[in-house]
């Protein structure tokens, strides 16, 4: 490695060693502190990385800051675009000198001047690219280096002028490139022609279009809002706010009953028509059947089989339960048996009076109860009427009911 290369390496190693301090200085001024910090500041000051700003206050070398800014696309407010006219004048002088040397001069000087011209032309291209990068960064972030919109507007105005000048510079560069290329052809220096054509001429068109595009954005982007209808302008403003305040979701705004109904977005009320299955109109019924036929077949799920426990016989000491017959029921059973055995009629009252256990049962109740039970058993009942039977009686009074088995039983 050459001696210069080693120096560059050492310089970068020093920067790397004190990288924290360099980073701090990129954000603002740095001041002394403990011994270690003071030593670091002294070392960086010795290398020209830090420049004195005030008493015990240092700032980053502006050239180094520029390098970092460009790398991080971080530009301070109202940062001017680089002017290429100065470098272009320098290149023009170098080109004139080169032509003079071509006629009468040493080859070594020619080579040195050619390298200088090459450097100037590369520098011009680099400056233009730098300006475009910076413009793109500023415009795409809508001048994100300032928060206040008024400052943004002022920056926009400032860059509108800067870009106007920049475009003129690039057009001059284009003219310089074309003229130099012609002169190089005339002077028999094709390498210079190649240099300017390749480094400048071929790229001028792209640069010009990019600048014009930036110019258009600058002219319109924020200021178009002034010509827009109020509501579209409002839309634009809220869009800008959303872009710039990415961590905020919305606002807690007081709303009361007087708020416009247009703020209430209607919520969908789902409609689900239910067919009337009881409607027997043929059209309705057919449609219903048709709709039902399209339904997927019912998947019958077998009910889970219940696991029955093993059967077992449990022997208990509980007594078997026998039905206990009431006296009335007992008397009725016996009456049924008796009437079936005998062909004679049996008086219900007589049967009751013969049984002392039915003494508590009133005669009327017994007659009603027994007659209904016996009628259901298929026996024939007849009423013992009082007095002479009226041919057209509606209600006939009776005093007893007689029971006898039916005729077919007798036969």
């Amino acid at each position: 490695m050459s001696e210069r290369g080693e120096q560059v390496q050492k310089l970068l190693a020093s920067l790397s060693r004190h990288s924290d301090l360099v980073a701090e200085a990129f954000d603002g001024s740095v001041s002394g502190g403990d011994k270690q910090r003071n030593t670091a500041i002294e070392a960086l000051f010795g290398l020209g990385v830090l420049k004195p700003y005030d008493e015990d206050t240092y700032r980053l070398n502006p050239r180094l800051r520029e390098f970092f800014s460009e790398h991080f696309a971080s530009y301070h407010a109202f940062q001017a675009l680089r002017r290429v006219s100065t470098t272009m004048q320098q290149a023009q002088e170098q080109w004139r000198a080169l032509r003079r040397l071509r006629v009468s001069g040493s080859a070594k000087d020619q080579a040195t001047l050619y390298a200088a011209l090459d450097e100037s032309i590369v520098e011009m291209g680099y400056s233009i690219e730098h300006n475009l990068t910076m413009l793109h960064a500023l415009l795409s972030t809508q001048y994100g280096n300032v928060d206040d919109l008024t400052s943004k507007l002022r920056q926009n105005r400032y860059y509108a002028r800067q870009v106007d000048q920049f475009l003129r510079d690039v057009q001059s560069v284009d003219a310089f490139g074309a003229q130099t290329a012609d002169e190089a052809t005339a002077a028999g220096m094709p390498d210079v022609r190649r240099l300017v054509t390749r480094r400048l001429g071929a790229r001028c068109l792209t640069w010009t279009s990019q600048i014009k595009e930036a110019q258009e954005v600058i002219s319109k982007r924020l200021f178009e809002a002034k010509l827009m209808e109020t509501r579209v302008k409002r839309l634009s403003r809220f869009s800008l706010w959303l872009t710039r305040h990415r961590t905020t979701d919305g606002w807690d705004v007081p709303v009361d009953e007087r708020a416009s109904v247009s703020l209430v977005r209607p919520e969908s009320i789902e409609l689900r028509p239910q067919p009337d299955v009881a409607d027997m109109d043929p059209a309705v019924r057919d449609n219903l059947l048709q709709a039902a036929s399209k339904l997927p077949a019912k998947v019958s799920l077998a009910p889970p089989r219940e696991e029955l426990p093993p059967q077992m016989l449990v022997e208990g000491d509980s007594e078997p339960v026998f039905e206990t017959l009431t006296p009335a029921l007992q008397a009725l059973h016996e009456l049924k048996e008796a009437s079936r055995r005998s062909a004679d009629t049996i008086s219900l009252l007589g049967w009751k009076h013969a049984r002392p256990d039915l003494a508590d049962v009133p005669d009327g109740v017994w007659l009603m109860y027994a007659s209904l039970q016996l009628k259901g058993s298929g026996l024939t009942l007849s009423f013992a009427l009082e007095g002479v039977e009226d041919a057209f009686a509606v209600n006939a009074s009776f005093y007893d009911i007689e029971v006898r088995r039916q005729v077919f039983e007798e036969s």
């Binding site: 105005r157 002219s219 178009e224 002034k226 409002r234 839309l235 919305g250 606002w251 247009s262």
Partner: protein, 224 residues
């Protein structure tokens, strides 16, 4: 009373002459309005319009506590509720600032959006930045596809409708006025600080900036 009109109203649609031409024409009839209103009244709702002659929609009979809570909730989540539409519509506006006013009934041809994006690296970068708010948009897709998805997203949300499928022309619907009324309400409540309001520049500055040819030759004012 038309069943389709009622169904749309119950679905929460904004019935404008661009998206629902026939239904809008029916609702223009005053008798129909009275009938629909009476029908909606049973649901504690009423027929309302955006502005004097805007889209019809189903509004609450009166703004109650539930509605207030709904509005407040939506404004608290403005970025999610209205943010995508604001960003997407503002992007469309920027593609042709002079021409597109985003008014109901305005046509937006997809090919014009595509042409604007292809001619501007700024717009292209902006379109890419919108991927987070456009459903289905992706870095891998072409500008055309991303723009189509943007318009489809807006159409799904009801702000535009596909007027001509063959030529890919969309039309702004009446629903956009609802968004404007929300923004107006927010503006009246000054949710964006005054420092960020761009209405304070003098008219002189406007002329100065809008006409690059009229720019003064010196920039001494700003340079200082």
């Amino acid at each position: 009373m038309n069943a389709r009109v009622l169904k749309l109203l119950l679905e929460g649609a904004y019935i404008c002459q661009y998206r629902y031409r026939d239904e809008f024409a029916m609702l223009e009839d005053e008798e129909e309005q009275v009938e629909v209103d009476a029908w909606l009244e049973k649901l504690d709702k009423r027929l309302a319009r955006l502005g004097e002659s805007g889209a019809f929609f189903m509004a609450p009979s009166f703004v109650g506590q539930r509605d207030i809570a709904q509005i407040k909730g939506e404004l608290l989540k403005f970025r999610d509720e209205y943010g995508p539409a604001v960003l997407q519509l503002d992007f469309i506006r920027q593609t042709d600032a002079g021409g597109i006013m985003l008014s109901p009934g305005e046509y937006i041809p997809l090919f014009q959006l595509e042409a604007a994006v292809s001619h501007s690296t700024m717009l292209e970068a902006q379109l890419k930045a919108l991927q987070g708010v456009v459903s289905g948009a992706s870095q891998r897709q072409t500008n055309h596809e991303n723009l189509r998805r943007l318009m489809e997203h807006l159409a799904k949300d009801g702000y535009v409708t596909l007027a001509n499928k063959d030529s890919g022309v969309y039309q702004v619907t009446g629903k956009i006025e609802q968004l404007y009324s929300v923004l107006q309400f927010l503006d009246e409540n000054k949710v964006i600080p005054d420092a960020e309001i761009d209405d304070r520049e003098s008219d002189e500055a406007q002329i100065d900036l809008l006409e690059p040819g009229a720019l003064p030759s010196t920039d001494a004012e700003d340079a200082t």
